[in-house]
């Protein structure tokens, strides 16, 4: 489980690896609030290496979207693998996200 933060011009990319459960949610939330504090308000969440997500992870994503929008920023999500589909279907939370196939497309969409 890890979160890597890289800057691609104006866009901050968060690459999540491993299980997006309550442990990663804890890190994800503090990571997002750190970025908001530093006025990094355009983010792409790269989920392509997330092999599992539960409702804690989904909740953290929703909270992240809300927090960033409140500060007039934007979060986009890229690289959803089939492993994460089950919970998207059950919670129907995918409707709150801006979803792109790849990180590159998500980054490009900002310009």
């Amino acid at each position: 489980m890890s979160i890597k933060v890289t800057q691609q011009e104006a866009v901050t990319v968060l690459t999540l690896t491993g299980r997006f459960d309550a442990l990663m949610s804890r890190e994800f939330k503090s990571c997002i609030s750190g970025l908001i504090n530093n006025k990094r308000l355009y983010m792409v969440i790269d989920m392509s290496s997330v092999d599992f997500i539960d409702s804690s992870g989904m909740g953290a994503l929703v909270g992240g979207v809300r927090g960033v929008i409140k500060e007039q920023g934007e979060i986009r999500i890229a690289g959803l693998s089939p492993e994460v589909q089950t919970i998207f279907e059950l919670t129907r939370l995918h409707r709150i996200f801006d979803i792109y196939e790849t990180v590159d497309r998500a980054c490009a969409s900002f310009s």
């Binding site: 299980r19 459960d21 309550a22 442990l23 804890r26 599992f52 539960d54 409702s55 804690s56 989904m58 909740g59 953290a60 929703v62 909270g63 809300r66 492993e83 089950t86 919970i87 059950l90 919670t91 129907r92 939370l93 409707r95 709150i96």
Partner: protein, 135 residues
């Protein structure tokens, strides 16, 4: 086959419970839709264990995660030693509100055939059962 794990009641214990769950679910027989069922059971187990660790957790105590694997069914049980709750009064999430939480019990009920919860002298005992067609 019966597999039991007992771990400290702290969120960090997910690092032990998750690979345990993965390993046990690999023992599922060759049933139809096996991959999907494994994915769903992995999700349910994570929700149940996280609830036990977060809500049912008193530092210094433990939680237990058990799997009973039969050729046509699995029972997942989670025991915690917290103050417990009333499963029947948990309201399902309102799916248009985009809540950040409150999905755990709903997910368990959506995926499993039986979800039951009992407060006993020896802890709070959540039992989750799912069966499939025997092949």
């Amino acid at each position: 086959m019966h597999y039991l794990l007992e771990i400290p009641a702290a969120l960090e214990s997910l690092r032990i419970a998750a690979p345990f769950t993965t390993a046990v679910l690999q023992e599922l027989p060759e049933i139809r839709d096996r991959d999907r069922i494994i994915r769903e059971l992995t999700l349910v187990a994570s929700e149940a264990v996280t609830n036990a660790l977060c809500h049912g957790s008193v530092t210094g105590l433990t939680i237990r995660l058990e799997y009973d694997l039969a050729p046509d069914a699995i029972i997942i049980s989670v025991t915690d030693y917290g103050s417990g709750f009333d499963l029947e009064t948990v309201v399902p999430p309102d799916l248009v509100l985009f809540q950040e939480g409150g999905y755990g019990v709903y997910i368990m009920k959506s995926i499993m055939d039986v979800v039951s919860y009992e407060k006993t002298d020896d802890g709070n005992y959540l039992v989750l059962r799912k069966s499939w067609e025997r092949q």
